[in-house]
Each structure stands twice: as C-alpha cells, then as structure tokens.
C-alpha cells in the first residue's frame, strides 16, 4: 500500500533539505508522527483500494498546464543560492547582524521565532490548539463499561507478542523524555526549541501507549489533565504578552520584563518556548489518544456485535 512509500518519501524529502538547520529537526520529527497518524487512519478506514479514477486524462492535462505555467513563472526567479536575491536583502540582514546585541541568543532561528515574530508564533500555537480541540470534538468517545473488558482482553493478547519490544522501550523511554527536555532548554544555543521538544515528548508518550495499551497510558497521563495543560500553554504564551503590555512595552516586547533588556529577552523567550512546548506536546498526545481510543472503541463494538 501507499503507507510504506509515504514514509520513505517524506524521509527522503527532508534529507534533500539537509543543508539547512532546524527545519530539519522539525521535519524528521514531523515525518515520524504524521506517518504514524496516516497509518493509523488507514487501518481505521479501508485498506483495499478500489477507487475509480475519474477522468485521469482531464486531471493530467490540468496538472501539466499548471505545471508548465509555474515553470514559466520561475524563469524570472533569482538563482538558487544567489546572495543578492530580494529575500536576503530586506529584513534578514537586520536579524543576522543586530540580533546578537538586541537579544543575545546564539540561535538566530530561536530569536526570530520567539522575539521578532512572536505574533506569528502565537497565531500558530493557537491554530495547533484549535486543531487539537477539533480532533477532540470529532473523535472523543464516552467509553461504555461493558466494552472495557473486551478491549482489555484484546490489549493483553496483543501484548503477549511484543515482550522484547516492551522491555527495550521501557529502557528507552526515560532517555527520550530527558532528550526532549534537553532540546527544549538547549533551543537558545543549538537546534531545538519548544516545537521540537513538544513533539519528541509526545512521541515518547505515544510509544508507551502503543505498546502498553491505551488504558494503561491513560492511567499514567489522564486526558483531562492533558487538555488543561494544552490550554495552559496557550495561556502562558498570551500572558507573557499581556505582562509586557502592562509593563509599558508593546505586546510581546520582552525588553521591559527585566531591568536589563537582554535578560528580559531571555526570560521572555524561555517562557514562550515553555508555553509552546506544553501546548504542542499535549495537543499531539490528545490527537493520538483520541485516534487510538476511537479505534479500540470500534474494535470493541465489532467484537461485541459478532
């Protein structure tokens, strides 16, 4: 099926991007989880592919014409890697040259993300939060007690097959969590930051829930708390902006958070990254738990019906 190829494709795309930095971390992290979600959704729906392609020739013609127009459009674009392209002339030099004095964070991507463009990032975090809420609204199930026993039995029989995997994962999970924290707090000095750390943290929890069963994972990390944390992250991010507003600066102007502007910037970026990390991690966990809960619910239903 298309799943394996999909995983390969996304991986190889991001390898092709390699000359660049942080985007890659993010990409590799994204490749794992989105492949997993895609695969989960495929198992939940249909795997046979009996789709009739409607009018492939028409589609092909549309695609070819659009592609030709786009390629014609690229003829005026600046060459790959040329240093005097418009994109490199306007705001980027300021970010590159002045941010060391203004913000003092070694990783330019973090400083642009957290400080110069904090508004954008806030918007993105709200979008992620909204998507989490949407998945919750679409897929959350109120579990009936009589299905529980069946689901548990199914889980146990699944787990008997994966003994070695479970032990290795038990050893690995603390390291993954620790590494997520490292990425979170190392974001000022190297590749990393809240987005990546959140996804890695969520990946550890997802790994646990996959191998040990959803009900066990829910006992460790219960879902209302996760939902609360997702909201808390957005709230933390927003309140940093409000506090800087109250202190007499602009929204997300961290200079006023402390006596020393640079220290204020550091504090602001740290808080914001923490908010981003909390939100991303808990939203990913919510999404995954709900998909998995829906799947097990469906399996329980099917077994109950037969």
């Amino acid at each position: 099926m298309l799943s394996g190829i999909y995983g390969l494709l996304s991986a190889s795309f991001f390898v092709a991007m390699d000359a660049v930095d942080v985007a890659f971390t993010e990409a590799s992290v994204g490749a794992g989880i989105s492949t997993l979600l895609m695969f989960l959704a495929i198992t939940m729906t249909e795997r046979r592919d009996h789709s009739v392609r409607h009018k492939p020739w028409l589609a092909l013609i549309v695609v070819v014409v659009t592609g030709a127009l786009l390629i014609y459009g690229t003829l005026d674009m600046p060459y790959f890697g040329s240093a005097d392209a418009p994109i490199h002339v306007h705001v980027a030099p300021r970010y590159i040259n002045d941010s060391m004095q203004e913000i003092g964070v070694i990783n330019l991507v973090t400083s642009v993300l957290g400080s110069y463009r904090a508004f954008d990032t806030f918007g993105e975090v709200v979008v992620i939060f909204t998507a989490g809420v949407g998945v919750l609204a679409l897929l959350s199930v109120s579990r009936r007690p009589e299905n529980d026993a069946k689901i548990d039995a199914l889980n146990v029989s699944m787990h008997e097959q994966h003994l070695i995997l479970r032990i290795v994962i038990k050893i690995l999970i603390p390291f993954i969590l620790l590494f997520a924290l490292y990425v979170q707090f190392h974001g000022d000095y190297g590749p990393g930051g809240g987005f990546q750390a959140g996804v890695i943290f969520a990946a550890a929890v997802i790994l646990y829930s996959m191998l040990f069963g959803l009900s066990t994972a829910r006992r460790v990390i219960n879902q209302p708390l996760t939902q609360f944390i997702a909201a808390l992250g957005v709230l933390l991010y927003g309140s940093v902006g409000v506090v800087s507003l109250l202190n007499g600066g602009n929204f997300f102007d961290y200079n006023v958070l402390s006596d020393d502007p640079v220290a204020g910037q550091h504090l602001g970026i740290l808080l914001i990254e923490a908010g981003v990390g909390l939100t991303v991690a808990s939203v990913m966990i919510i999404i995954f738990f709900n998909f998995q809960g829906r799947k097990e619910y469906g399996q329980g239903q099917a077994k109950g019906d037969v």
């Binding site: 097959q161 994966h162 070695i164 995997l165 290795v168 050893i171 690995l172």
Partner: protein, 114 residues
C-alpha cells in the same frame, strides 16, 4: 600519533561503507523477505558502529564524542530490536519463508548478534 589515528579512522570508515554497500546489495538481490532481513539486520548494525567509531576518532572534541557515543548506543539498542520485531510480526502474519531449493539460508535470523 596523529597519523595512526587518521589511518585507523579512515579504515573504520571504509569498512563501514563497504558493509553498508554489501547490505544494500543484499537487500536488492536476495530472493525473499527473511533473507533480505538477514542481509540488512546483520550488516546495518556493524556498519553503523564502524562509521560512528571512525567519526569519533576524527574529532577529539568531548561533547561531540559524547553525542556520537549516544547515537552508537541508540543504534545498538534499536536496530536489533527493530529487526527482531519485524521478523516476528512477519512470521506471525503467515508470511512463509522461501523454503524450497536453496536449502537453509532462510530462518528468521533476528541479528541480535553484532
């Protein structure tokens, strides 16, 4: 001293490269799933460790070496486990090994040795 380190690092890198190429050829040429798995599972771990050791010798900077050791440990943990789980899942879902003519190079060898 310097040249000895240089030469040994080059040696390790070359051995790693050779092993991974042979694994790749094996994946392309072998007839069925389990023998392909054998080719990958055995060579992959050793090739990864060889290349990582070669890199470690190149750069005597402490933090980088620590990170490389971390990657090495992860590879040693993850690779055999993954191939074990893969073979087991394949066997469990009734994917029969190719048993007939060429004798006994098939069995679900899960490469936990490396």
């Amino acid at each position: 001293m310097g040249t000895v380190v240089e030469i040994s690092s080059g040696f390790f890198l070359l051995v790693g490269a050779f092993l991974s190429v042979s694994g790749g050829v094996g994946v392309m040429r072998f007839p069925d799933f389990y023998s392909r798995m054998h080719a990958v599972g055995v060579t992959d771990t050793l090739a990864a460790s060889m290349i990582l050791i070669g890199l470690m010798l190149q750069m005597p900077e402490s933090l980088v070496v620590v990170k490389l050791i971390l990657i090495l440990l992860l590879t040693l943990f993850i690779n055999p486990t993954a191939s074990h789980a893969l073979a087991k899942a394949a066997l469990h879902n009734n994917l029969a090994p190719l048993l007939d003519k060429s004798g006994d190079n098939n069995a679900g060898d899960d490469s936990s040795n490396s």
